[in-house]
Symmetry: C2
Subunit: 527 residues, 2 copies
């Protein structure tokens, strides 16, 4: 049952006075629940509890944190139909998507549970002493990763489960040993509250300290700003727009003690169509991309918003087929009136740029909040000279850039902003002749795809979901996969520390049986 | 032979008009050489060359980069006596220190050569495809670390070799595959030029691209600012003061495309004296610390500037012995008149704070630029309430804080700014009763030392040289040891990429024989 309250640690709380509601875009009405925004006092309580919880939680062994993470997964599952109903009511996304995303969320929590239970993630590194070394003795040094401290997580509008309350950022931070304060996304505050209730239930059941997790409601920016500026907070995770992510990054960088912000922000996910592939299968590619562009009403961060090819009969065929296919797809609803408002505005802005031509757009009447998909085209020269065309139009939109030749194509790629993904559609041995183009693309992206679509982000250790700015604020980390834990940890070194007082990961006996680098050699052996 | 020129890639160059000289603090005279500051045009040339060099250098296999790094080490060694002479003339540091630091520099270069030759540092992670998976097939994903791009390195005043031109930051960046532009430290521009000449010679001999390394002279801040703001630059390494490091961090954070800055900035390196240790061996500890405080004229970033104990007969004995010992040590010269100027100013400021008492200070006349060491003492309460006392006094200075009880001691520790190191002097089983104090200290530092001195930073994989702000701008990295390479790399993922076009590290056959995580299992096996 949704109460509209915040969770300040284990405690439901609503001491503030401002309330807001969420919106059902499919029915085009407000939902009934009233959410109370967190007060300044509640923000301060949550941060105090988080700092206090950090003292014990940061020292918990892997299996204890794993138990907590698995309990969260269990409690989310146990929310049953209510979660699915609230999710669909607050997002307009279909029930199948809700089930899929719930599975992904649970899967992520369990993957992190396994990861910290296994324990190798601490990157234990040991250099033993050499008391006889000349000219000076060598000391004993032992290094491992430890958690940074309380982390604030800002959930994504487009992933109410997998990248929100107990999504990837939260799971990674809790796995690392960092308490988490979620600034709940106002578009799906009810979904957030349910997940928060499951998380708090799991925390209580598994004996976690009060304050290991809090969930704060807010429809404005004040609560988020207070959190990011608060001295108790040691890192920030964010998924959302460039404007939002950059604002938080700036705020965090300007603190007396700057803290790291990992913000995963938009991307146009360029797709390069190589000539032979276009010659041989332009129609098939176009059909595939019509689907990818409109998947989930184009609301994935990996939506292909930019398609680049060299002028040819093949590219013309591709564009014509894409135009034909895209209008046959039944429009779907967007997450919120604000989201579709921005889509319409950005689409209009893109279409109003000199040289942009409409390839095709859905024309029939649609229900409120349903997005009419559009594909446009532009000459390579025009694109190069107008950076407004490089910006993301979040929603079912893509632009086909018709380049004069491969040198212009490469020039365009090398001038793109940072991207989450880049895709190359290529035939047989065609790719080998485009190595400098591939290198230029690699330089701009976090993940490169061969003959596929960028949509669909596999959650696995080898995934990189991130990339050069503005795809993310720090390309040295990924937001997806178990390695995303690295965002929330720092290396820590013990010098000549008594063996019995070292953490298990660094003890001579290697009691938890992890891989360690001992005097330069990777081994599970004891010392 | 010193020419006073910059190296713009492989080319010596001096197109600017501003010149400056370095200073011999021991003789208290300017050195003869005239250094020409890099012009704006030269800055732009260096960054263009670096970007161009990155295209090829970033793809070089480990052994080829290793050859370059070893050649730099060889050429530095081949500089022979001239390097030692210029080093001592520009720093006042003794020849023995010059030889030791040269050995460390060469050792670091060779350690990185071995590291990239071995190749495990790319953290290769492979998840193979599952075409039959339901409901959707699993794609093939392969991840490895790749270099960020051109890196700007700002060398340290106090380590003209090991943390300057071809020091730790440069060696790590070159090992990663990043071209380096050094903003040469104006206090030892001659030493810098010699090392740059050796590096360029090595680059030419081993066939490295022009622009893989540049060395720019400057006595002011303009050249550094131009470099950090330049769009071609993708990361910054800095060793120096908090003011300098923070200014660069702010500049980099405010760019249209923010870039990571790893700045290793000062630290007071707190030392905690536990009661039993003081009871049993206050005199010995004091003698050891008199040496550590004055080592290298107190010009190490790990100099113990703050000593904390609980009021007791033992602490009084310690303070008295320290006072007696410290004045018996022969003063030594500081690096530069500016450095000793700042030392005198900060010492006076610390002594002028209400409640600060002089324990002892060297009183006799000294030669110009020689530092008169000082130790002071203060009550715990006074220290807690005056943050001015928490600031570093760079040089042979330390303050003994006399705490009322262990709770005040812990309170002080928990309110310290971030530190490179924390040291605990303890007897036998004493430490086990102070676990919350140890935890508080861990929270504030990058390295914790048992019964030792913080000075002396072992270069080995298990070292952490960094720590919470302001010890460094990002506690998630270390500046010393092979893992410092992680500052300059990002993970990159290939999806469904043809095996023959993958980098060797990710090919099925594992041709370079590295450890990889394949479907969750760490292995050297092929796929």
């Amino acid at each position: 049952m949704i109460t509209g309250k915040n969770y300040i640690g284990h405690q439901a709380s609503a001491s503030g006075t401002k309330v807001f509601k969420t919106f059902n875009p499919l029915l085009n009405v407000e939902n009934d629940w009233k959410f109370t925004e967190a007060s300044i006092q509640e923000v301060n309580e949550a941060t105090s509890l988080a700092s206090e919880a950090f003292k014990t939680y940061s020292k918990f062994p892997g299996p204890k944190k794993a138990e907590f993470l698995r309990a969260i997964a269990y409690e989310i599952d146990a929310l049953g139909e209510e979660l699915l109903d609230v999710y669909t009511s607050e997002s307009g996304l279909p029930k199948g998507r809700a089930i899929g995303e719930r599975g992904r969320t649970i899967g992520q929590l369990r993957a992190f549970a396994n990861h910290v239970e296994l324990g190798n993630w601490v990157d234990a590194t040991i250099d033993t002493a050499e008391p006889e070394r000349q000219p000076i003795p060598k000391v004993d040094l032992r290094k491992m990763n430890i958690p940074l401290g309380p982390v604030v997580v800002f959930g994504a509008s487009n992933f109410p489960l997998a990248y929100s309350t107990a999504g990837g950022d939260t799971a990674a931070a809790l796995a690392a040993g960092c308490p988490v304060i979620v600034k709940s996304h106002p578009m799906h505050a009810g979904t957030g509250e349910l997940i928060a209730s499951a998380t708090v239930k799991a925390a209580k059941k598994t004996g976690m300290p009060n304050g290991v997790f809090s969930n704060l409601n807010s429809s404005g920016i004040e609560v988020g700003q207070l959190l990011v500026k608060h001295p108790n907070i040691k890192a920030v995770g964010f998924t959302g727009s460039i404007v939002g992510g950059r604002a938080l990054y700036d705020l965090a960088s300007q603190r007396a003690e700057p803290i790291p912000v990992f913000a995963e922000m938009g991307s146009v996910n360029p797709v390069i169509l190589l000539p032979k592939a276009l010659d041989n299968r332009a129609t098939d590619i176009a059909k595939t991309y019509a689907g990818s562009i409109t998947l989930g009403t184009g609301q994935f961060c990996t939506n292909p918003g930019l398609i680049l090819g060299i002028k040819s009969e093949g590219l013309t065929n591709f564009a014509n087929t894409l135009a034909k296919e895209i209008v046959n797809i039944q429009p779907t609803v967007m997450l919120h009136p604000n989201i579709i408002g921005a889509f319409e505005k950005n689409k209009t802005r893109a279409l109003s740029q000199t040289g942009t031509q409409l390839l095709a757009g859905y024309k029939n009447e649609v229900k409120p909040n349903f997005a009419k998909q559009v594909v446009t085209t532009v000459e390579g020269d025009t694109f190069l000279n107008n950076s407004a065309l490089h910006q993301e139009v979040f929603g079912p939109y893509s632009m086909v850039v018709q380049c004069e030749n491969s040198s212009q194509l490469e020039d365009i790629i090398s001038r793109l902003e940072g991207q989450l993904t880049g895709t190359i559609i290529s035939d047989d041995n065609e790719l080998i002749s485009y190595s400098s183009l591939v290198n230029a693309l690699q330089d701009r992206v976090g993940r490169i795809i061969f003959n596929g679509v960028p949509t669909g982000v596999e959650v696995c250790p080898a995934m990189v979901h991130g990339g050069p700015y503005p795809a993310s604020t720090d390309s040295r980390f990924t937001a997806v996969g178990v390695d995303s834990i690295k965002r929330w940890v720092r290396p820590f070194s013990y010098q000549n520390w008594p063996n019995e007082l070292l953490p298990d990961a660094l003890k001579n006996e290697n009691p938890i049986g992890i891989f360690r680098i001992v005097n330069g050699k990777l081994t599970k052996e004891s010392i």
